[in-house]
Symmetry: C2
Subunit: 220 residues, 2 copies
C-alpha cells in the first residue's frame, strides 16, 4: 500500500513536471536542475557561473533548502538576478528534495518571458532529488573529490539520471588522496554515458568547460 | 492529508522504535545511530573504532545503504564481527534513511545477548535520518570540514537531535580554509548542548576522545 502511494505521488509529480516543461519551452527558458550531496559545492559553482554569465544572458535561480536563505543571499550578492527561495520546512513538511509542485509554485516568482536560463539548486541529498522530475531540461550533479570513490555505486540512481557530472574541488584532489581512475570507472559502471567535467569552483579550473557545455545546451 | 499520513507513519515508527529499545535494554546492548552526509567519513571512523575496540567488547554493526554492501565488506575486513546489511532499494522502496522497522528486521541477524555495542550506520543523508527514532541510545553525527560552515543552519534538525558531533577530516582543515569558530558558532546556535569532538579518521587524531566518550556511555 505504501508502494502504491509512492507510485501515485510520482505519477502526480510527472503530470506537474510535464506542465512545468511545457511552460519553460513556451518561453524558451533552458532549465538546469543542480543536485549533489550537502557541501559538494553547488552554490559556489553557481556563484562562479553567475559572475561569468550575467549580462551575457538573462538568469534566474530557484533555491531549494530545508530551512534558511543563505544560498539565495550569496547568489544575490554576486548579481542582481531573481532568486526564488523554496523552504521545504515551511510549506512542504521538511521534504529532503524538490518536486514538480514546488517548482510550479516557485515559477510565479520568475519572469520566464525574459529569462534565458534557470538554475534550480536542489536540496543537498544524493538520494531522493534523483527520483523527481521537475520539468528541467538537464540534470547536472556535483560530486566533490572529498566524498570518496565509492559513491556512484552507493547512490546509483543519482549518477544514472544525471546528464553531466561536475567533479568539484579538484584543487585538493591530491591532498585527500583522490583516486580519479577508480572514481570514473565507478561512474561509468552505473552510467556509461555520463559526461564528467573536472572543476574547482575555488580556483576556477574547468569552469570555462562547464560554461561551454551550458552554452551548447541552452543555445539549441 | 499528506501531513496526516506523515504523522501516522512517524507514530507507527515510534511504537516500533520503543520495542527495539526495550529489546536492546533487555540484553544490555548499547546502540549508537551514526548519521552524516554522504562521504563525511562514517565508515572510516567505524573502521578505526572497530580496530581499537574489537576484543575489548563485543561489537556488531547494522549497515544502511540504498544499494550494495561495500561498507559491510570494508568493516568485515577489519574484524570478524557481525555486520548486517540493509539495502533500502531491495525491500524498502529506495528510502533515503533507516527507520525502526528496518532495524527491527535487521536485529534478527545480531545476537544481542552476546553483544555489548551495536553501531547503526545510517544512509548518508543530512535530512530524513534525523526524523526517525530507531530505538538507539545515542545519535552521533559526523560532519567533515569540507562540507562548509553553513550546514548546521541549513540542516538544523540533524544538528538538533544529535548527542555528539564528530567533526572529521581535521587533517585537511587548513587546506580547505575551514573556519572552525564560525562552524562551532553555527552548531551551537541550533543546538547549544551539542558536544563536538574533532577527529581525523585518516590520521587517528581525536579517535581516543571518541572512544572515551563511547566508553563512558556504554559502561553505564
Amino acid at each position: 500500500m505504501i508502494i502504491e502511494d509512492v507510485r501515485n505521488i510520482l505519477s502526480a509529480n510527472d503530470r506537474i513536471a510535464a506542465a512545468n516543461r511545457e511552460r519553460f519551452m513556451r518561453w524558451g527558458s533552458y532549465v538546469v536542475n543542480m543536485m549533489s550531496a550537502p557541501g559538494a559545492g553547488k552554490t559556489t559553482i553557481l556563484e562562479r557561473t553567475i559572475e561569468r554569465l550575467n549580462g551575457r544572458c538573462r538568469l534566474a535561480v530557484i533555491e531549494g533548502d530545508v530551512r534558511g536563505s543563505y544560498d539565495r543571499d550569496r547568489l544575490r550578492s554576486v548579481a542582481d538576478i531573481p532568486v526564488v527561495q523554496i523552504n521545504t520546512e515551511v510549506a512542504y513538511g521538511g521534504e529532503c528534495h524538490l518536486d514538480a509542485l514546488m517548482i510550479a509554485n516557485a515559477i510565479g516568482g520568475v519572469e520566464l518571458p525574459v529569462t534565458d536560463l534557470v538554475f534550480i539548486e536542489n536540496v543537498g541529498n544524493l538520494v531522493c532529488p534523483a527520483e523527481f522530475d521537475v520539468g528541467e531540461d538537464s540534470k547536472v550533479m556535483v560530486a566533490s573529490v572529498t566524498e570518496g570513490e565509492d559513491k556512484p555505486l552507493k547512490y546509483p540512481l543519482m549518477y544514472s539520471v544525471s546528464d553531466l557530472l561536475l567533479l568539484n574541488k579538484m584543487d585538493i584532489a591530491a591532498a585527500v588522496g583522490f583516486d580519479r581512475e577508480l572514481f570514473l570507472r565507478n561512474c561509468h559502471s552505473v552510467n556509461p554515458a555520463l559526461l564528467v567535467i573536472e572543476v574547482s569552483a575555488r580556483s576556477g579550473e574547468g569552469i570555462p568547460d562547464w560554461l561551454a557545455w551550458l552554452d551548447g545546451k541552452s543555445a539549441r
